[in-house]
């Protein structure tokens, strides 16, 4: 490579570097850029294009893999995002620490479509800082051709005939939460006596399972290695396409129904456009299309009638009303976190 070529290459990559700093390619110089920090594959790409065309802007998506990682990064001072999509309990933490903007409801006319039943148990019911985006329960799934006489209850985890063929999520909130629900308590309970009782149930489950598992349960269930798994509805709906015998249910005692919300961080610069984006996603037609793509439940009552029959009848997304009423979102544990962690350690080491 001679010197002239080197200089040309260096200046070309310097240009790319400079363009990257502004967060976009040079071709999108017209209009604004809205920076969104969210989970991977969490919006239908067609909707992204539609919003870009309608508003003459560009959407840039960055992705995180856990609420805690996102929090650490924002807390470290990283900014530049206009919309975040954290889970409800993290919204609570962020708003407590003053890291979120108050939403201007005048710019969000579509909030009238949000399901009031969802808001009853939501952590931010008045939608001061957040608008619910997508929700999904945790539950159990089994293979209908191999499990006799199934019951839609957490008690399935105690069945001796499935011993060694069950997995539980390796997650304190999910397992102890399920145990608390079995006892009829809130899964956000901070009562030491209730937690102690839940611990005994969880230890009983632990003796019956093959292992705690957060990833491999999907493939394990599809291949028949496991007969009963504890998992996230969104994951199970996907493996259902691989094995038609998989049946998912939300236990009748209730289960965690976690929700990811749309929020605007304190440092956002395109506040109007961020409101427009949140309003766009809350439009019933858009929400319905997004639900079909993501496979989660958008808490948007007017979107549901626009869904395909297949999605509308999916019990993983729409559990029976009486079961849904017993579900709760996972709340911030506050000072009880230490007690929970200690209880969970006792379960794991039992």
């Amino acid at each position: 490579m001679n010197r002239r070529h080197f200089l040309a290459a260096a200046s070309a990559s310097a240009a790319a570097l400079a363009a990257g700093c502004k967060g976009g390619s040079p071709s999108a110089s017209s209009g604004k850029t809205l920076n969104i920090y969210t989970w991977a594959d969490y919006i239908d790409e067609e909707l992204v294009q539609r919003f870009e065309e309608e508003n003459g802007c560009r959407l840039v998506f960055d992705t995180f893999d856990s609420n805690e990682a996102m929090y650490a990064k924002l807390k470290g001072g990283a900014g530049g995002y206009d919309v975040l999509v954290p889970s409800s309990y993290m919204v609570k933490t962020l708003s407590r620490e003053g890291m979120l903007q108050k939403l201007d409801h005048a710019k969000l006319p579509n909030l009238s479509h949000v399901d009031p039943d969802h808001l009853k148990t939501a952590l931010d019911a008045p939608m001061d800082h957040s608008v619910p985006y997508m929700a999904a329960p945790t539950g159990l799934a089994y293979l209908s051709d191999k499990v006799q006489a199934p019951a839609t209850s957490w008690k399935m985890l105690d069945r001796a005939d499935l011993k060694g063929r069950i997995t539980l999520l390796d997650d304190m909130r999910e397992v102890l939460g399920g145990a608390l629900k079995t006892l009829g308590h809130s899964l956000n309970s901070t009562d030491p006596a209730q937690l102690a009782a839940a611990k005994e149930i969880a230890i009983g489950w632990k003796k019956n399972i093959a292992k705690f598992e957060n990833e491999q349960y999907k493939t394990g269930l599809a291949s028949g290695e496991f007969l009963l798994v504890h998992g996230y509805a969104g994951d199970i709906v996907q493996v259902m396409e691989e094995n038609e015998n998989i049946v998912f249910f939300v236990p009748e005692e209730g289960a965690p129904f976690s929700c990811d919300d749309l929020v605007i961080p304190a440092g956002a610069t395109n506040v109007d456009l961020a409101h427009a984006f949140i309003n766009f996603l809350t439009d019933p037609e858009v929400a319905a299309q997004n639900m079909e793509y993501i496979g989660y439940l958008a808490p948007n009552k007017d979107a549901w009638e626009k869904l395909s029959d297949e999605t509308r009848s999916n019990s993983a997304i729409f559990p029976p009303a009486e079961v849904r009423a017993k579900c709760e979102p996972l709340d911030d544990l506050g000072d009880a976190l230490a007690l929970w962690s200690q209880t969970w350690d006792e379960v794991k080491s039992a």
Binding site: S13, G20, V60, T63, D65, A72, G76
Partner: protein, 264 residues
């Protein structure tokens, strides 16, 4: 004496250990099953999906731009650093310098990511490809310096004296004798830096800004919650094919040019 079979068996085991996982994801990139539990038939579907995912390509481009900058810059700075470390090894200043060069090798990534983020934020720098590149140069430099330093320790400095003796000026001797002999070390350090930069997740996660996420950051978040997991397999397969192509091409070029092949 009968030759032991142990070396052959070890070789096969090691090769299997290295390449079976690679073979597994290559095969699964053509598997119609989204979870790779069973073989559900051959498909190009994941490659088609990969083509549509513009954010993955942006991430890929980000990774390459950052790695090029990190490798290029750390090759220059690392070589200069190694030269100083070797030439004045006994001085107190260079001993402090050596400690500074070694530090990024032992500091945990998470600490480096957080502290670099704090630094960039307090400087008011806009997070993006530039901050990622600076962060990567910080740790790549150490690796290049070490590799080049090792090469310098075996370096026959009488060759430079000979060149000067035969009439080469200081600059000519450096350019025509010193650098070409050192080039394999510098290049090896640069390749190492390139790989480390392409690989890095933790530091990049903290210092990346909107739209500047690199491939590892993107892939890691996809692992957790994606409908198109095999797209990652497809992308890895393409990167693997590209790597092999580059290796073969460089070997072909080296063999065609015998004078290059004879260089140490």
């Amino acid at each position: 004496m009968k030759r032991s079979r142990l070396p052959l068996i070890t070789l096969l085991l090691v090769l299997g250990f290295f390449y079976l996982p690679v073979g597994y994801f290559v095969a699964n990139s053509f598997n119609a099953s989204a979870f790779g539990t069973t073989w559900e038939g051959f498909t190009w579907h994941w490659y088609a999906r990969l083509w549509e995912k513009r954010e993955l390509w942006v991430a890929c481009q980000n990774s390459l731009v950052v790695a090029a900058w990190a490798a290029g810059t750390s090759m220059v700075l690392g070589t200069l650093s190694a030269f100083a470390l070797h030439r004045w090894a006994k001085s107190r200043l260079q001993r402090a310098h050596r400690a500074l060069v070694m530090t990024p090798l032992v500091v945990p990534d998470i600490l480096m990511g957080m502290s670099l983020l704090a630094l960039f934020v307090s400087l008011g720098a806009e997070l993006g490809l530039a901050t990622i590149s600076v962060a990567h140069i910080t740790f790549c430099l150490s690796y290049v310096a070490l590799v080049v330093l090792a090469r310098l320790q075996d370096f026959d400095f009488t060759l430079l004296d000979a060149a000067r003796d035969l009439g080469a000026g200081r600059w000519t001797a450096a350019r025509r004798v010193f650098l070409p002999l050192l080039a394999p070390g510098i290049l090896a350090g640069g390749l190492l830096a390139f790989t480390l930069s392409i690989d890095d997740f933790v530091i990049t996660f903290f210092v990346s800004g909107p739209g500047s996420g690199t491939l590892p950051v993107r892939v890691y978040s996809m692992m957790k919650r994606s409908r198109d997991l095999p797209v990652i397999n497809a992308l890895s397969t393409l990167l693997l094919a590209l790597t092999f192509l580059i290796v073969f091409a460089s070997q072909y070029l080296t063999n065609r040019n015998p004078s290059a092949a004879q260089k140490p």
